[in-house]
């Protein structure tokens, strides 16, 4: 038994896991259309490597990042590239952006996929390359490129696999662990090999007994294993990365740090299974398990879904909407976001389609003023004072909000569920955080601009000073009666010229391309000086 280090706070939620666990896992039907948004996690767009009208096969790369760490996107079935155009994204903003649309041909023909039976023959570096080339990103929702996380900047000693599906309703990881425990464990071994860590802790909520049993029996079949299956209490947000790390190791990820700073790398169990398929079978990430649930859909269940499948197709396969369907949420009810329409594709990080019936996810009542009861602070998993953060955020006193560590809010939404005043706290903090980040960028830009402006002023000053000095030298030189350097030089030049061509008279230009111009001179009235004319005059 491994010791647990409970994190503070958290809430017990009505898990509603049974809703989607009645029907068994099934394969989603092949849709007639697959949509692949090009927008990647960092905000950059991947570049299409196929053109409209081209035929693509299942598993073929259709878009790549401009920079190598962005994993490529693969076609999840065979068909023709119908178009590359802006379409609505499954994103909280609801904005449109460039997508590749594939018209499937029903043949589902795949490119040749070759795996490596024994991953131990490959170096960590080439394994990371394989994983990145397979398009694998974190399947827990954040969608961070997995290969990058497998190359931590400092040495780590523990791999944590996150099977703690703490959001209500979602059962896709549970379903994966029940049906494919071997793939997850094998994937974990590959990840451990890449990271060179001696142990792996697989955290799984204790309300998933079938999954725990499946994992344990799969683990026993292998004999001794460095992978420990650890049941953890089902408290939201146990599955939060920082919370799970604290729970399993007692370590805290330092502020502004990454898990590697605590000697840990954390991956979703689905990511481990995807790594197994990529390495051993040569299969890129073209499908994932998605929970379609809620009382707004007639037959809730888990489906193995091709990436790019429109949500509407999945709901249709699950019996369609019930009459009382009211709200469509991508993700869970705590950290997911509502969608305006079901004409949106499943992306790699999409774990759940929640269709809530009227009254199932009731909207909060009227918001009243905060009474500072502190219920939010009692349950905050990162020990913030939401009541103070709310006060300062509302007053737009972002400096004070920053002092209260606004940026450490993990936006789990626990505070919203206990607030007697029904204040949308998490949303207030999300908005305030983006304001703080935007202000920071603005400040940086302003700082940069000021530095440039000041450098320019300094340069100008220097120039002006040099010019003034030169003028002063000249003036001094000329002011000495007949003794100035310049006057002497002019005398010398005149004498030389006269010596060379006696016919030439000062002030005229015989047979010369130059013209005589008069330059004012403060000390000597006018002094004619010959000046060459620009060639192209």
């Amino acid at each position: 038994m491994i010791r647990l280090w409970p994190f503070r706070g958290g809430v017990h939620l009505d898990t509603q896991k049974a809703v989607s666990s009645v029907l068994p896992l099934a394969d989603a039907d092949l849709p007639s259309r697959l949509v692949f948004p090009l927008l990647q996690r960092g905000g950059e767009n991947a570049q299409p490597v196929v053109s409209v009208g081209e035929r693509v096969l299942k598993g073929q790369v259709i878009a790549r990042g401009a920079d190598s760490p962005v994993p490529p996107i693969h076609a999840s079935s065979s068909g023709l590239i119908e178009s590359i155009r802006p379409l609505p994204l499954p994103h909280p903003s609801g904005l449109c952006d460039w997508c590749i649309v594939i018209e499937t041909d029903g043949r589902d023909e795949a490119v040749e996929m070759t795996g490596t039976a024994d991953y131990r023959t490959l170096s960590p570096r080439s394994l990371r390359g394989l994983i990145n080339e397979a398009g694998i990103v974190g399947l827990g929702g954040a969608g961070f490129p997995t290969a990058v996380k497998l190359d931590p900047p400092r040495s780590v000693d523990t791999l944590i696999l996150n099977g703690a599906e703490c959001e209500p309703y979602i059962t896709c990881d549970d379903s994966l662990l029940r049906h494919f425990p071997q793939e997850v464990l094998e994937g974990a071994r590959i990840l451990m090999h890449i990271l060179g860590v001696p142990r792996c802790l697989l955290g799984i909520e204790d309300n998933m007994p079938e999954a725990i049993a499946a994992l344990r029996s799969a683990r026993q079949r292998d004999g001794r294993s460095a992978i420990e299956v650890v049941p953890v209490p089902s408290i939201y947000p146990t599955g939060g990365e920082k919370q799970l790390i604290q729970l399993l190791t007692g370590r805290e990820v330092p502020a502004h740090g990454i898990p590697a700073d605590a000697g840990v790398v954390c991956h979703n169990v689905g990511t481990a299974a995807a790594a197994f398929r990529a390495v051993v079978r040569g299969e890129p990430l073209i499908s994932r398990i998605v929970t379609v649930t809620g009382r707004g859909v007639r037959q809730p269940r888990n489906l193995s879904v091709r990436i790019g499948t429109p949500i509407a197709d999945l709901v249709r396969q699950c019996g369609g909407y019930s009459e009382r369907a009211e709200r469509l949420v991508l993700g869970g009810p705590m950290m997911g976001f509502s969608l305006a329409s079901d004409d949106l594709p499943i992306v790699k990080g999409a774990n759940c389609i929640l269709v809530a019936a009227a009254g199932e996810l009731p909207s909060r009542g009227q918001t009243l003023p905060c009474i500072r009861c502190g219920a939010c602070a009692d349950i905050c998993p990162v020990n913030l004072l939401p009541q103070q953060l709310y006060w300062y955020s509302r007053a737009r006193n972002l400096e004070r909000a920053g002092e209260h560590q606004l940026l450490d809010c993990i936006e789990c939404g626990c505070c919203d569920t206990v607030c007697p005043s029904h204040i949308p706290l998490a949303q207030t903090f999300r908005a305030a955080k983006s304001q703080v980040i935007a202000n920071g960028r603005e400040r940086e830009r302003a700082h940069h601009a000021r530095a440039r402006f000041e450098a320019r002023l300094a340069r100008k000053d220097e120039q002006r000073r040099e010019q003034a000095e030169a003028a002063k030298r000249k003036r001094e030189a000329l002011s000495k009666p007949n003794g100035g350097e310049i006057a002497r030089a002019i005398e010398r030049a005149r004498a030389r010229k006269q010596a060379a061509s006696p016919s030439q008279v000062s002030g005229s230009a015989h047979g010369s391309p130059g013209t005589v111009i008069q330059e004012p001179d403060e000390t000597h009235g006018t002094c004619p000086v010959q000046r060459p004319e620009p060639a192209e005059h």
Binding site: P333, F337, Q366, L368, P369, A375, P420, H422
Partner: protein, 343 residues
């Protein structure tokens, strides 16, 4: 198909402000019942006056501020302030003083600062303090407890006494009134009497003052129920009663002839209603865990100081108001360590 959108999370809270306030009101019942039993029906008359005035005043100010009236009245906070003020008043206080105190509490103490959530001071204690400073004589006219009362006033007697200042034949207010145990101790200690002599009087019980011990036990029961229901934080009452007990014990051990027992301090005056119902008002109290400990602790200490060395027999209202002033600073300096940060 189109769907409505809103911000996550989509899990609605199960608590509400009106539920919290209602819970606190319900928890007052044992203490209120003890007051009714020991000091007659005056407390319920005062409660009725205060409730009517508080609701009317809140509605009037809200309509002047052009705010929605019904949702605010439904939060029960005005009713709670009125109730806390009413149970602190002498049972036969003239009606217009109750009206004045309640008006001051709701209009000045609460609404002029912006209403619920924005008042820096506990509104009920603002009303109480104004009455105590402005009308000290009326505010010290308490009744004897049921045990020692020579005459028990009926409902009719009580109502006419409060509204009409008329008493049944042969009775005067001065004859009827009796100082509270805290008042008696303070006055007679000043005359250099010993505590043993003072407490030998019939109005003192073995624990504290007769009647007052029951009232305090009633509010203690209600307060424990509040803690169980998690409607108030444990830090404030614990620290409040803890420091009051410790400081009282310290001085009692030094000079038992001049300082009453710690138990007397805990079971007289407004100790229990103050610890569980007044100091715990979340709006005006400190809000961090450590801040609440300091806040409650200093209130308990200040009460002891005011009772023992100050000019007033009891000190709950002033101690709470003084610490209300300190709450923002306490909150700022007692921020807890956030995950991932060093101290």
């Amino acid at each position: 198909m189109r769907f409505s959108r809103s911000f996550p999370p989509y899990v609605a809270p199960s608590t509400s402000v009106s539920g919290v306030m209602r819970g606190v009101l319900v928890a007052m019942i044992p203490g209120l019942a003890a007051q009714l039993w020991q000091f007659g029906p005056g407390v319920l008359v005062q409660l009725s006056i205060a409730l009517v005035v508080a609701v009317a005043a809140e509605a009037a100010v809200l309509s002047m501020r052009r705010r929605a009236i019904v949702p605010v009245l439904r939060d029960n906070s005005a009713a709670l302030s009125a109730a806390l003020l009413a149970v602190s008043l002498p049972p036969l206080l003239p009606w217009w003083l109750t009206v004045f105190g309640t008006l001051f509490a709701i209009v000045v103490g609460k609404q002029l600062y912006g209403g619920l959530g924005y008042n820096p001071f506990n509104p009920a204690m603002v009303g109480y303090a104004v009455l105590l400073i402005s009308f000290p004589k009326s505010m010290n006219h308490w009744l004897p407890p049921a045990d020692v009362a020579a005459y028990s006033l009926s409902w009719g007697d009580t109502i006419s006494a409060i509204f009409d200042r008329s008493l049944p034949n042969g009775l005067t207010f001065d004859a009827l009134a009796m100082a509270t145990p805290l008042d008696t101790v303070k006055t007679r200690l000043a005359l250099h009497e010993s505590l043993d002599d003072i407490q030998a009087a019939g109005s003192f019980s073995r624990l504290a003052g007769k009647g007052w011990d029951w009232v305090n036990l009633g509010y203690l029961i209600g307060g424990l129920w509040l803690l169980r229901r998690r409607l108030i934080s444990w830090q404030i009452p614990t620290a409040f009663l803890g420091t009051l007990f410790v400081s009282a014990m310290l001085f009692f051990l030094i000079d038992p002839a001049r300082y009453p027992t710690p138990l007397f301090q805990l079971l007289t005056g407004a100790t229990m209603v103050g610890a569980f119902f007044i100091a715990t008002d979340p709006v005006s109290a400190a809000t961090t865990p450590t801040g609440r400990l300091i806040y409650g602790g200093l209130i308990g200490f200040l009460i002891f100081v005011i009772r023992s060395f100050g000019g007033y027999p009891d000190g709950v209202a002033f101690a709470v108001l003084l610490m209300n002033l300190a709450a923002p600073a306490l909150d700022y300096w007692t921020r807890p360590r956030v995950y991932g940060h060093s101290r």
